[in-house]
């Protein structure tokens, strides 16, 4: 639709930019021209004035010296006519009979001598209505002549006055020519400048329009699309690059979210089916025991499900850096001792021996609840994966900048294929019955505290998990010790 197109182009940035640019240019040049015009006009006037003043003086001189006899009029007229032929004109074609006039009036104001077009009476009329100062050329508008005259005067000894007039036709013509030529060239320039500016800006802004179209396409449907990039590394090119990087990030986040929801749905389906089956059994069970068993089994499944959901959310929260930490001084030595005490029966029941090596109280600034859960995950991990006869060695040491917890065992170690992805969600070994969230959670908590975690297979066999947490500054340690003493 043409109307829409023209309206859009009028609203476009290219249109506005070129419009304002052209306006500024047009006004600027017009201003310069006005200045130039007035300069030229005053210069022409000055030149004709100086000619008039000089000539009228010469004529006056001649008239004064010429004896006032019968030949006086002829002589003066002759001289005036000669002078009139030497008028400095810029255009030859502006010369005509009425270009110059010479007039002598008596002391009573009556016409004495006249050289020029017509009878000269209208000139006498015009001059009477004007107060002319000698030696000061003035404009004179004469009835019957469209163009004004520039008039200089000279007062003679006998009281009569000589007037010499020059038509301003030549000057006006020069100025008009100047104006016409300027205006036409100016209009041409403005038009040309506007179109050049308009099309250049439009060209430069075309990538922006394309980016806009692509972005709206992406916004509506297709997240895999990208905005077009330009080879130039200008602002627009950089914008396209930034947008594309942002889209990459968004796409990968959305993809990640899809994966998580998919696997979450998948992980929920099996226990939900199991619970449903067990509850159905509780309705149809033959004996009281069977029915009770089914209900208890359902509760167990539900507990596991809740636990799994909580862990998934914990990991997601930690991953998104949304964990709100309320750090307090936590003694890692004490924490590990309590944990060892808690897990020792289970370990020995399974035939696993456990050793803790620690050099004494070691404080870190950390969120106690998260640290507890992280430690429980580490112990659970060992308990779940070790066979009878294995040994777990736990050591706590004070490194220069950090507290380091190491869990070493001589068990089967990590599956080679999952080793590079140990700290990602839902990565589990072939024989693991877990959800694959334990190590992901450990990693997330350590990172949330500014620590690190690494897991490797030991050379002699078995796994080694290393967690470091940054040590508080010295002042913090002293404060922590005081609290610890106070609380005991």
């Amino acid at each position: 639709m043409p109307s829409t197109t023209s309206r859009t182009s009028i609203r476009s940035a290219a249109w506005r930019i070129s419009l304002w640019g052209t306006l500024a240019f047009a006004f600027g040049t017009m201003f310069v021209f006005i200045f130039l015009h007035s300069f030229v006009a005053s210069d022409i006037e000055r030149r004709s004035d100086s000619w008039l003043s000089g000539e009228v003086e010469v004529l006056g001189d001649v008239a004064n010296r010429t004896p006032k006899d019968a030949l006086y009029g002829t002589v003066v007229e002759e001289v005036a006519e000669l002078a009139g032929k030497e008028v400095p004109l810029l255009y030859r074609e502006s010369r005509s009979d009425d270009t110059v006039f010479f007039l002598q009036t008596g002391s009573d104001g009556g016409l004495k001598l006249w050289v020029g077009a017509g009878s000269g009476l209208s000139f006498v009329q015009a001059i009477r209505g004007l107060s002319i100062v000698p030696d000061q050329p003035t404009d004179l508008q004469v009835k019957g002549f469209g163009v004004p005259y520039r008039v200089a005067s000279f007062v003679m000894n006998d009281g009569s006055t000589i007037y010499l007039g020059l038509s301003e036709r030549d000057e006006l013509r020069v100025l008009r020519q100047l104006r016409v030529r300027f205006i036409s060239i100016w209009a041409l320039l403005v038009l040309l400048g506007f179109s050049i500016e308009f099309f250049t800006t439009r060209r430069m802004l075309r990538p922006v329009r394309e980016i806009n179209e692509a972005a709206s396409r992406i916004g509506h449907s297709d997240l895999t699309a990208r905005v077009p990039t330009t080879p130039q590394n200008d602002e627009v090119g950089q914008l396209a690059g930034t947008l594309n990087r942002m889209l990459d990030r968004i796409e990968s986040s959305v993809h990640q979210l899809h994966t998580i929801t998919d696997s979450l749905a998948h992980d929920l389906r099996s226990p939900l089916t199991a619970i449903r089956g067990k509850l159905e059994m509780s309705l149809t069970g033959a004996t009281e025991d069977e029915r009770t068993e089914a209900i208890i089994g359902s509760i167990d499944e539900l507990d596991r499900l809740t636990d799994f959901l909580n862990k998934s959310l914990d990991v997601a929260e930690a991953r998104a850096d949304a964990l709100r930490l309320s750090p307090v001084a936590v003694d890692l030595d004490e924490l590990l001792r309590v944990m060892v005490d808690l897990y020792e029966p289970s370990m020995s029941e399974k035939g696993i021996s456990m050793w803790l090596r620690s050099t004494g109280p070691l404080y870190v600034e950390a969120d106690a609840a998260l640290l507890h859960r992280m430690a429980a995950n580490l112990f659970d991990n060992e308990l779940k994966h070790l066979r009878a006869g294995c040994t777990v060695r736990i050591s706590l040491s004070d490194q220069a900048q950090a507290a380091m917890m190491v869990f070493e065992d001589d068990g089967p170690g990590f599956d080679a294929e999952v080793t590079p992805h140990l700290f990602e969600d839902r990565v589990r070994g072939k024989n693991s019955k877990g959800h694959g969230l334990g190590l992901a959670f450990i990693g997330a908590v350590a990172r949330a505290h500014g620590g690190t975690v690494s897991a490797i297979n030991r050379i002699g066999g078995g796994a080694r998990i290393e967690v470091t947490l940054p040590a508080p500054e010295k002042k913090g340690v002293e404060a922590a010790e005081q609290t610890a003493i106070g609380s005991h």
């Binding site: 359902s298 959310l313 964990l323 309320s326 309590v338 005490d341 029966p345 289970s346 308990l383």
Partner: protein
């Protein structure tokens, strides 16, 4: 008006009754917010009924004037000397580790009531954790081996799917 608004409203009206928040929101932020705005305890859904009851009892106890602490706990023929940290059953001294004593004390204080595994972890080990493994069960199993000797009537009962309880009858 959400639950927190309700608490604030109640508090501004001068209601001093303890408040237990039951919520499906489980993030640390929500929990901290709930407790800061005047809630006394926070329990996330889903929860075991036994745990809800235990927490309510805790709140009520916290808000009643403390009575003189008994130095002895007695459940049938089981006797706990809280001062000397010794337990006897039918006159026989039980060889308990300090941790086992605390666990038995906690069960006896809640005599006739079910305690869940997470309650045991919180009260005895001071941790709000949810292990994937049966650590608590193994502790109870060991304790039971010491408390319920051969020929004696079992005191510690497993409430399957819920937790454990000591019965006084």
């Amino acid at each position: 008006m959400d639950g927190i608004d309700l608490i604030l409203k109640l508090r501004s009206l001068g209601v001093r009754a303890p408040v237990l928040i039951l919520s499906a929101r489980r993030s640390v932020d929500d929990r901290v917010r709930g407790l800061e705005q005047g809630g006394d305890d926070y329990l996330t859904k889903p929860f075991a009924l036994a745990e809800l009851l235990a927490r309510l009892r805790n709140l009520v106890r916290r808000n009643t004037p403390a009575t003189a602490e008994a130095t002895k706990l007695r459940v049938r023929d089981l006797e706990l000397d809280l001062f000397r940290r010794e337990a006897t059953r039918a006159g026989q001294t039980l060889q308990l580790t300090p941790q086992e004593f605390v666990l038995l004390e906690y069960l006896c204080r809640n005599v006739g009531r079910v305690v869940t595994r997470s309650m045991i972890l919180e009260e005895v080990w001071g941790m709000r954790i949810q292990p994937d493994t049966n650590v608590v069960d193994v502790h109870i199993y060991r304790l039971r081996g010491k408390v319920d000797g051969k020929g004696q009537e079992p005191l510690i009962r497993t409430m399957r799917g819920v937790g454990y309880a000591i019965n006084d009858k």
